[in-house]
Structure formats: C-alpha cells, structure tokens
Amino acid sequence: MELYLQWKDLMKAGTELPFWQDFYVKFFQAFVEGDRWMQYLKGVGSTLMVTALSLIIGVILGVLIAVVRTAHDQQRPGKRNPILGFFNGICQVYVTVIRGTPMLVQLLIMGFVIFSTSRNYTAVGILTLGINSGAYVAEIIRGGLMSLDPGQAEAGRSLGLNYIDTMRFIVVPQAFKAILPSLGNEFITLLKDTALIYTIGGEELVYAARAISTRTYEQMFPLVGTAIIYLILVLIFTWLQGILERRLRQSDRR
C-alpha cells in the first residue's frame, strides 16, 4: 500500500515508471483503492440478479408460447380451435418481431420510448431481456417438443392417458432433457447480454467498471477485469450445466 501511494505520486508528477511499477499502480487503482473490488462484486451480484430475473420472465413467456404453438399445431386437421388460432397468431408475430430486430434497438426503444419516464433503468432492462429471451426459449422448447418421436405421445394416448398427462409424464420430461444444452446456451447468452442494459443506464457489472474508469481515467484494467469476470461466470455455469446433463442422462445408456 505504501509503495502504491509512493509510486502513484511519482506517476502524477509525470515520471515515466518502469512497466511493472506502472502495472502495479494501475491494478491497485482499478481494484483495490477505496475498496473498489466491492463495486465489481456488487456489479456481479446485480448481473446475476438481472440474468436470473430475465431468465424467469423468458422461461415463463417461452413455455406459454411453446405450449400455445405446439397445441395449435397438434390439433386434429379440420377441427381447429379458433381461440387457439388467435393466440397462435399473436405468438407468431411476437417471435418474428423479437427475433427479427437487434436486441440493442429493442433496449433503446424500451428505455427511451416506451418507458422514457421510468427512472428504474435496471427493471426496464430486465423486462426487455426477458421479453427478448422468451422468443428464443419458446423456439427452443417447441423444437424439443417436436423432436420427440411421435410414437411416445401415441403410446401414452393409446393407454388412455389424456393430453395433459401424456405431456406431463412422457413428452415434457424427455423434451427437457433434449433441450437442456440449448437452454444452457441461452442462459449463457443472456448472462452476457445483460451487459447491454448499461446503454439505458441499468446497473450491473459494466456499469461498475465504467464508473471506476471515469474516476481513474484508466480504461484497460476495469474493462479487461470485467471481461475476465464474465469469463469466469460463464465457465462456472458451463460446468454446472455439464453436471446437470450427466444426471439427467442416467436412464439413457448403461
């Protein structure tokens, strides 16, 4: 600490420091001085919270849409339910619009047009990410339900189980296993995309890094540090996903 203060003063006075001293000072400045590591930690906390909340919104929306669209597609031909058809239309428009426009533009529209009067930027960010993710999760789930051998559902129905029970005990558990890698991928994408809510003033990890940069006039250490933190988070979740997949695979091959 003493060395740091000493070298920092030298630096301020305009002295060219050797590389490692320079490194030491900037590192200290970016992470240690004034307990700045706490800011990153808080940033990680809000990043995880934003990810979790938008994932919950995304999964709820995704499941609803996937159920509506699959139920609509699986109706007996010639006996289509018009109400289901109406909701199916809404779902299709939603998925098309969300997947067809950049996430950044969606964020800017939500933040500066639709909720321009709201001061709670993080909440707007969570909502936008959730709505965005819902469209992708819906397609992932729908793909999982469609990929299952129709014979499985037929076997369930031929035993006299109704549609709901067949889905609940036979189709969904198997589909879930099939979509887990894609769902994990979506989660990781979402985790990284939370960085974008910085653009509308949402508070998370990037926000913390930028706040520190503006105090220290030094860009490299906060930003590279942030990148490393994201990488570590992603590695942890990839590892957890692997464990979960191995568990669910137990009934496959032995």
Partner: protein, 240 residues
C-alpha cells in the same frame, strides 16, 4: 364388439382406406395381411382413433367412437395397443412404464398396479427387469414389456401393429409366443403382421388388404390354401 361402417381415410389427396365395413366379434383373432401401403396399419390405427377417419363410423361396445362428443380416452383404456417400435417410455423404469396408465387413470392404486405389474412380468418371464430402464433391454424383451404395459389396463381388445417387424429374427419367437398365449386365454385381438405362420396358426379370420380395401377374407385355411383373388395369390406366392 367393434363395428366399422364405410370407413375412409385420406392423407391429402391420397385415399388410403376406401369405404371399409367390417365387424369384429368378441374373442375373434383377426389377422390383417397385405403388401406395404395397402392401408393395414392405418385401418388398425383408426380403430382407436390414433388416425382420425375422414369418413365413416366406428362403434365400440355400442359407443360411437367417431362421434366428436365421445371421450376417446375412456375408449382407449379398453383397447390395448402394441406398436412396431415398442414405444416404451425411456425416462421411466419398466415397472413405472407399466403402472403409469392404470394409476393415472384411476383404474388402480399404486400398490395394486405394482402387484399386477409383477404378475404380468412373471407371466412373460421378465420379473427381474422391473427396475431396469428400457435401454437396458433387447428388442424382444421391450416388445414383451410393451404387451404387458397394454395388458395392465385390462383391455377388452388388443391391437398389434406389426409387433415383430422391428425385431431381430432370433427374437420374433419369444414375442409371438406371448401373443399366442394371449390368444389362448380368449383375448380379442387384431393383428397386423407379416408373420404368415402366426397368422395361419393363431388367426380365426384373415383379412387381406390391398390398395385401401379388404380384397378377400376368410379362415386361415381358406385364405392360405385356397386363395380366390388374383392379387392375394400373387401376394402369397411372394411371401410363402
């Protein structure tokens, strides 16, 4: 027991079943034979409405099952079905495969269903597989389990859709043996198969289908030893 009147089925522009009328009486062992694409499987799948008929009417024990107001789940509980590709549920143990439907439909309590499952498993010689998963079994074993699973619902009729076509030749025998025993117990059966030996031995009536119609039918002796229709003769000359 099952009464089929003027049944037709179209897939798009293709008419697979052409105005079929047929009656299946309790205790009958109907065997349906015919070339690929003749509509055998579609006919069978129409009987429990896995395929929706395009026209016509099917009645089961006095209930018109083609009526949209009929609860088809209640009908299907009385009709067991065995598929070509077994369709066991890979995410469940064998015992749960067998007990799921009886328990969920309220037919039995879990303990009763477990007991029934063990009895049935013993009957096909697979009681040691109760806690195994489908992926650990051979094709023949899977198909025997699939038969047991259907029987656990105490069905009045059993539908078999090419039950041995996906099996190794070595394993065909063990499945046919179970089906023969079932026939001897008096079960009403409708079997789509290419096993002519089985058809001759077990069938009480043979239906020969070609291009969506039942072209000829009769006792095994009549159909196999004295075929009338030229199409049936041609078919038999190729498969026998």
């Amino acid at each position: 027991m099952i009464d089929v009147k003027n049944l037709s089925k179209n897939f798009g522009d293709l008419q697979v079943l052409k105005d079929i009328s047929e009656h299946i009486a309790p205790g009958e062992k109907i065997v349906i034979i015919g070339p690929s694409g003749s509509g055998k499987s579609t006919f069978l799948r129409c009987l429990n409405l896995l395929e929706e008929p395009s026209a016509g009417c099917i009645t089961f024990d006095g209930t018109e099952i083609t009526d949209p107001k009929t609860n088809i789940d209640l009908i299907r509980r009385q009709m067991g079905m065995v598929f070509q590709h077994f369709n066991l549920f890979p995410n469940m143990t064998i015992k749960r495969n067998i007990t799921l439907a009886p328990v969920r439909t309220g037919l039995m309590k879990q303990e009763e269903a477990d007991e029934k499952a063990m009895q049935l498993l013993a009957r096909v010689g697979l009681e040691d597989k109760a806690d195994a998963y489908p992926s650990q079994l051979s094709g023949g074993q899977k198909q025997r389990i699939a038969i047991v699973r259907a029987l656990a619902m105490n069905p009045k009729v059993m539908l078999f859709d090419e039950p041995t076509s996906a099996l190794d030749p070595e394993m065909v025998g063990e499945v046919l043996e179970v089906m023969k025993e079932l026939a001897e117990d008096g079960m009403t059966m409708v079997v789509v198969t290419h096993e002519m030996g089985f058809a001759r031995e077990v069938g009480s009536r043979i239906l020969f289908m070609d291009e969506g119609k039942i072209v000829e039918q009769g006792t095994p002796a009549a159909v196999f030893d004295n075929p009338q229709h030229p199409r049936l003769r041609e078919f038999l000359s190729k498969v026998l």
